[in-house]
């Protein structure tokens, strides 16, 4: 049962990755070239999922959109982890005023929704995939900092930390050799869940026109385009929506599955 979740997550995530990889080498049609004669074609053998209002093959756009989705997920989660984890570990290990300053700052950033941050960045630097990545990444830093801090506090209370200190390990050595490997599992789970949130945020941003601008396809701006033809060609909105749902579900399942899989209380003793 526990493993089924992990496997289902891996399969769904694998599908998204496969779509992105395939799009690098091959798409059935050009994903950005407008073909006025083929507007709003229904699904057929030539256009698996039909065409959109510009006569562009939807399947091709979906494949290419997976690329943006993954890129935004990877970059924003990495950004959040690279800043959030060390900050959380610092707060957890140092305690006192350092802890207060780091965590209260995190609270302030946390109170700022990613959307608002993205609007701010978009209005200053213009809407682009990069602004979306940065906005989502910065907005996710507090979540990583919190998880890392909580993990660090738990690990720091363990006897083996005191044992390491008694053996003459420096504070830095304790952090890198003992705390980091012990909190790695929870960070992995947070990364997976954060990935799902980043995909949703990216879709929302490009739906609002604050992310990747047209003509480059993302699932979010495809959804936005489909909105205009909702009564003429309702299926058009289904495809990107389904893709987003699959990706988010996949990463959430992966996160939950990892949590169960890595939980030491459920680990079998060989």
């Amino acid at each position: 049962m526990k493993k089924a979740q992990l496997v289902a997550g891996l399969v769904l995530v694998g599908l998204v990755v496969l779509a992105a990889v395939v799009s690098l080498f091959w798409t059935p049609f050009d994903p950005i070239r407008v073909v006025p004669g083929e507007r709003l074609a229904p699904p057929s053998l030539t256009h698996f999922l039909g065409t959109d209002g510009f006569g562009i093959d939807i399947f091709s756009r979906l494949l290419v959109g997976a690329r943006t989705t993954l890129a935004v997920g990877i970059i924003s989660v990495s950004l959040a982890a690279v800043f959030g984890v060390p900050l959380g570990m610092l707060a957890g290990q140092a305690g006192g005023w350092v802890d207060d300053v780091v965590m209260r700052t995190a609270d302030v950033v946390y109170a700022l929704p990613a959307l608002l941050l993205a609007m701010l960045l978009a209005s200053v630097f213009g809407a682009s995939t990069t602004t979306a990545m940065i906005a989502i990444g910065v907005a996710s830093i507090p979540a990583f900092a919190r998880v890392a801090r909580a993990g660090t506090l738990q690990v720091m209370a363990a006897d083996f930390i005191l044992a390491a200190r008694v053996s003459g390990t420096s504070r830095w050595g304790v952090a890198s050799r003992h705390v980091a490997p012990n909190i790695a599992p929870v960070i992995g789970v947070q990364a997976s869940v954060g990935f799902a949130m980043a995909i949703l945020a990216e879709a929302a941003l490009s739906y609002l026109g604050l992310g990747t601008p047209r003509p480059n396809p993302t699932w979010g701006n495809m959804l936005r385009d489909a909105q205009n033809y909702l009564f003429v060609a309702p299926l058009q909105a289904v495809w990107p929506g389904l893709a987003i749902a699959v990706a988010v579900l996949g990463f959430n399942l992966l996160g939950d599955g990892l949590r169960d899989y890595l939980d030491p209380r459920l680990r079998e003793v060989p």
Binding site: D159, V166, G168, T169, R171, H178
Partner: protein, 280 residues
């Protein structure tokens, strides 16, 4: 000059300045064996942490601790960490939690070597395996390659012993090292500790609440009660002629062979009442 000299050590905690250790003084000669006995909460572990310079940030320390010519309170964190694991080391109470679950046992022992001797990986491994064999592990190679959760409590406690002893420290602090082990394993670990300490000539501060265990390892013993030292002397003296009522209680509870069959077993409260501090 003695290896460890503690003078008038007082430790207070937190905003209310709760006294954990109150004016404790003692000294330990190089190669000596000193037992520190008392119930939980009497300040034994705090005393040990003070010697290691590892008291938490909310602790307030007064008095002097001289260890191998260093005044602990005046040392920087960096110089302290060079002393720890090299001049002084500690054996912990809980073998289940004193080893890092993500690190192989051998590497944890090698880590102590690396930190102080700057040993290379190859020769370090040989020394680690030799040390593991010395503390009485039957298959040191396999233990060195195992993660802590793959080892039994007794095996882990020996790995911890190896960590504490591999740099041949001058002082080994043992904080109830056998409390978490069952009695048969306890006896073999104590025997091993005794042998290894003899072989290396290290001094030992042995903390326990069990007078019988202390008497196996130590020749001198101090009794601690509510942060104060109430009695000290040789083990034999303490056993035959305890002076403080609390010590009398401890001795009576440790000598169950003296109890007549059918009689109620003695408890410390028969001799000393904690609330009033009066003897009965």
């Amino acid at each position: 000059m003695s290896l460890l000299e503690v003078r008038d050590l007082t430790v207070r905690f937190g905003r209310h300045r709760t006294v954990a250790v109150d004016g404790v003084s003692f000294s330990l000669a190089a190669g000596g064996r000193l037992g520190l006995i008392g119930e939980s909460g009497s300040g034994k572990t705090v005393t040990a942490l003070a010697i290691l310079g590892l008291l938490p940030g909310n602790a307030d320390l007064s008095g002097e601790i001289d260890l191998a010519g260093h005044r602990i309170a005046t040392l920087s964190e960096q110089r302290l960490s060079r002393l720890r694991g090299d001049v002084v080391s500690m054996v912990f109470q809980e073998p289940m939690t004193a080893l890092d679950p993500t690190m192989r046992a051998g590497r944890q022992v090698a880590e102590v070597l690396r930190l102080h001797a700057g040993a290379e990986a190859g020769p370090a491994r040989d020394r680690v395996v030799a040390m593991l064999a010395e503390v009485g592990l039957a298959d040191p190679e396999r233990v060195a390659d195992s993660f802590p959760h793959q080892l039994s409590g007794g095996q882990r406690q020996r790995v911890i012993l190896a960590m504490a002893l591999i740099n041949a420290p001058e002082l080994v602090i043992c904080d109830e090292p056998t409390t978490a082990l069952d009695v048969t394993v306890q006896a073999t670990v104590l025997e091993k500790l005794d042998q290894v300490l003899d072989a290396s000539g290290a001094a030992c501060l042995f903390i326990s609440h069990d007078l019988a265990v202390v008497s196996q390892v130590c020749d001198q013993v101090m009794v601690m009660l509510d942060g104060r030292l109430v009695e000290s002397g040789s083990v034999a003296e303490l056993f035959t002629n305890p002076k403080h009522p609390y010590t009398k209680g401890l001795v009576a509870t440790a000598r169950l062979d003296a109890v007549e069959p059918g009689q109620r077993l003695p408890v410390v409260e028969d001799f000393y009442h904690p609330a009033t501090g009066e003897s009965r």
